[in-house]
C-alpha cells in the first residue's frame, strides 16, 4: 500500500511501486485531466506537480510520490481560477485541448518562480510541452497575461 496526498487529499493505493504515477492518477483515482501523450517524457501532456515541481507522470514511478504532495490540473485551484487558468480562458488558448493541462501545470511552475517572465523565460520553461495544434503564440501571450493577473491580485 502506498500513501500519497493528491489535491490535498490523502490517498492509499495498492499498486506495484513501479507503476507510473500517470496510471495511478487516471485509472485508480479517476483524475482524467492528466493525459498520456508519448509515455517517454518527451511531450509534456502528463505534467503534474510533485512537491511543486512539474514532473512528467508517465516516467515517474508511484514509489517516488509515496508520502509526497501531488497536484493535478483538477487541484490547481478550487474554482478553476488560478491566474494561468483565467488567462487561458480569457485568451481562448485551447484548440484541441489535449496538451493543455500539461501546458498549464508547467506555466504555473514558471509563474511561481518568476513573477514577470520574459519571452526567453517562457521559451525556456515551456520547451518541453508540445502542442500539435500550434497554440504556442497564445500560450506565450496567456502566460504574460497570467503574470499580470497574478501581480494585480496582490
Amino acid at each position: 500500500m502506498i500513501t500519497l496526498t493528491v489535491n490535498n487529499k490523502k490517498i492509499n493505493v495498492d499498486v506495484d511501486p513501479d507503476t507510473p504515477l500517470l496510471w495511478v492518477l487516471r485509472e485508480h483515482l479517476d483524475l482524467m485531466g492528466v493525459k498520456y501523450g508519448c509515455g517517454v517524457a518527451q511531450c509534456g501532456a502528463c505534467v503534474v506537480h510533485l512537491n511543486g515541481e512539474a514532473v512528467r507522470s508517465c516516467v515517474t514511478k508511484i514509489s517516488r510520490a509515496a508520502n509526497q504532495q501531488v497536484v493535478t490540473i483538477e487541484g490547481l485551484s478550487e474554482e478553476g481560477d488560478h491566474p494561468v487558468q483565467k488567462a487561458w480562458v480569457e485568451l481562448d488558448v485551447v484548440q484541441c485541448g489535449y496538451c493543455q493541462a500539461g501546458q498549464i501545470m508547467s506555466a504555473a511552475v514558471l509563474l511561481k518562480e518568476n513573477k514577470n517572465p520574459t519571452d526567453a523565460d517562457i521559451d525556456a520553461a515551456m520547451a518541453g510541452n508540445i502542442c500539435r495544434c500550434g497554440t504556442y503564440v497564445r500560450v506565450r501571450q496567456a502566460i504574460k497575461r497570467a503574470a499580470e493577473i497574478q501581480r494585480n491580485a496582490k
Binding site: V40, A41, A54, V55, M105, S106, A107, A124, A125, G128
Partner: protein, 201 residues
C-alpha cells in the same frame, strides 16, 4: 672504467632530470598543492587513459561547452533544449529531475537516471567538451575550476553515483572506452602521482 661509469651516471641523471624538468617547464605543473608524490611520467600516462573516458558521451554530455546538455552517442543537443540554470539542475518546469528519475527508466529512448541528475553549476561549468588533454587536466586538478575539490575529494569523486552511472547507462547507450575499474585505476594513478597535465604543445 670507474671514471667512465661515474660519467655515465652523471649523464643519465642529467638526462632524466632534464626530461622531468621539461614537464615542469612545459606548463605541466599541477596547480593542486595537495599532491605529495610527484611522478609526471606515470601521471601523464594515466591521464591519457582518463581523458578518453572524460570525452566519451557518457561523461561529456553533461559537461557541455554551452548551457544545454548533450545527449546520445553523437552528443547532439538535448531534445527540448533544457537549460543549465544557476545550480545546474535546470529551470522552471524544465528541471532535470522532472524527467530523470533516480534510476534509468527502462526501454530505449527513455530518460536515463541516477540520484541527483544535474550539470555543473553556472558559476563553475567544468566544461569537458572541446577541451584538450592539457587544459582538461589542469582544470580538474585546480580546486578553483574543479568544484573546490582537493586530492582526497577528487579521488572520492570516482565513487560518485552520477560518475558510476556512466558504466550503467541503460539501453541504447554505449559504455566509456575503459571499464570502470580501469578508469578508477587510471584516475587514481593520475592524481596520486601529482595530477600532471600532458604537454599543451
Amino acid at each position: 672504467m670507474k671514471r667512465f661509469s661515474k660519467a655515465f651516471i652523471i649523464v643519465v641523471s642529467l638526462s632524466v632530470g632534464i626530461v622531468l624538468m621539461s614537464f615542469v617547464i612545459d606548463n605541466e605543473v599541477s596547480t593542486n598543492k595537495n599532491f605529495a608524490i610527484k611522478d609526471s611520467v606515470t601521471s601523464v600516462k594515466a591521464f591519457h587513459e582518463v581523458y578518453k573516458v572524460l570525452l566519451s558521451p557518457r561523461c561529456m554530455n553533461c559537461h557541455p561547452s554551452g548551457d544545454i546538455p548533450l545527449q546520445g552517442d553523437d552528443s547532439h543537443a538535448h531534445a527540448m533544449l533544457p537549460k543549465r540554470g544557476v545550480d545546474g539542475k535546470g529551470v522552471y518546469a524544465m528541471k532535470c529531475g522532472n524527467c530523470h528519475q533516480s534510476a534509468n527508466t527502462e526501454g530505449s529512448g527513455r530518460p536515463p537516471g541516477a540520484p541527483n541528475w544535474h550539470l555543473p553549476p553556472a558559476n563553475m561549468k567544468m566544461v569537458f567538451q572541446g577541451k584538450s588533454e592539457h587544459d582538461l587536466a589542469k582544470q580538474i586538478a585546480n580546486p578553483k575550476t574543479n568544484g573546490n575539490k582537493n586530492l582526497k575529494q577528487l579521488i572520492a569523486h570516482a565513487e560518485d553515483g552520477l560518475v558510476k552511472w556512466g558504466w550503467e547507462p541503460g539501453e541504447g547507450r554505449t559504455l566509456p572506452p575503459l571499464t570502470y575499474d580501469e578508469f578508477k585505476k587510471a584516475w587514481n594513478t593520475w592524481l596520486e602521482n601529482g595530477a600532471y597535465a600532458p604537454s599543451g604543445k
